[in-house]
Amino acid sequence: MTVRAWVVWVILGCALVTVIPRVVPLVFLSRVKMPRVIERWLGYVPVAVLAALFAQSVAMPAGRLDLTPGNHALLAAAPVLLVALLTRSLIGTVVSGVALMAVLRLLAAW
């Protein structure tokens, strides 16, 4: 169980600059009464973030854009959204998505 000291220092530096944007608004803005329009604006943040993360995760699974049929993540995107719409089940959708991906890969390998 060895650690290189300089690696730990770099990790600590990274952790510090990560924790500041995570913590500062929660600690200070939670003390402030925000204008109604800002609260409404913030209400859209989860939907906006999820749409962006979902689009990135299925259209660029390896970090670069892949719109070919060989991109299984993209193939599974519409079925998974449909399962979510029909079942409204978080766990059900996650399990279906994982199973679908496994099947797609099996078919591709076969």
Binding site: V37, L42, L50, A51, A73, V103
Partner: protein, 234 residues
């Protein structure tokens, strides 16, 4: 509502999809880091104090490439600065909690825990501290355990992609997106915001780092949502 421990358990249960997603990515990260020359202890330290999926991959790559410390720290800041938006969006829901509680909650804020938590916080609902700690601690523990295990097993591990487990997070994003949108009254504005978020998030990622594209997508989509609110519907 139940007692403190019941709410903590509720949070731990709500974190289950995050745990599934972190299992695949965590194992993969451990293997990548071990292959790049990191020790098991270094991987554990990183997952304990940095605790950020994509940023840890970036950090390992930069450290292995011998980048200067200042460049690594600046890059990680830029990768993770999107958390400002999550922390800000969560802040109205924790206004009754003590500052030390909010600091601890913020320290374990990730894309995934933010998305899971806000699902239950529609409108001006107040979050309970034990519930948020349940979500956060469970997710963080899963990340720490799986990344460390990945580093221990190293390249001897079977490819987790075969099981499709790496699709747990995209599927979770899809489900949370649908559930979030369904829980809001202004359907037209929410759909437009989701569309804008997807387009800007994807288009932006082609010309800037993915984390920045999430910020650009959020700024554009939330502004569009508020602008359309009350206009699309009566």
């Amino acid at each position: 509502m139940g007692g403190v421990s019941a709410r903590y358990r509720d949070g731990a249960r709500d974190a289950f999809p995050v745990v599934l997603g972190y299992t695949a990515i965590g194992l993969a990260f451990g293997v990548v880091a071990q292959t790049a020359g990191f020790t098991v202890a270094e991987v554990a330290v990183m997952s304990l104090v940095l605790y950020a999926g994509s940023a840890q991959f970036v950090a390992v790559g930069l450290i292995a490439a011998g980048a200067p410390a200042s460049a690594i720290v600046l890059t990680i800041f830029l990768v993770n600065v999107r958390h400002l938006l999550y922390s800000t969006a969560l802040s109205p829901h924790v206004r009754r909690l003590a500052p030390w509680q909010n600091a601890l909650i913020g320290a374990e804020l990730t894309d995934e825990t933010f998305a899971v938590a806000t699902l239950r916080l529609n409108g001006g609902a107040l979050a309970s501290a034990p519930w948020l700690f349940g979500i956060n601690n469970t997710s963080h523990a899963a990340w720490l355990a799986c990344t460390t295990l990945g580093a221990l097993l190293g390249s001897s591990i079977a490819d987790t992609r075969v099981l499709g487990l790496d699709y747990a997070l995209p599927a979770m994003f899809a489900a949370l997106l649908v559930l979030q949108a369904a829980g809001r009254p202004e359907k037209g504005a929410v759909l437009a915001a989701a569309g804008a978020g997807a387009v800007v998030g994807l288009g932006g990622a082609l010309v800037m780092p993915a984390g920045w594209a999430v910020i650009a997508a959020t700024l554009a989509a939330a502004t569009l949502g508020v602008a359309l609110e009350g206009r699309v519907e009566g």
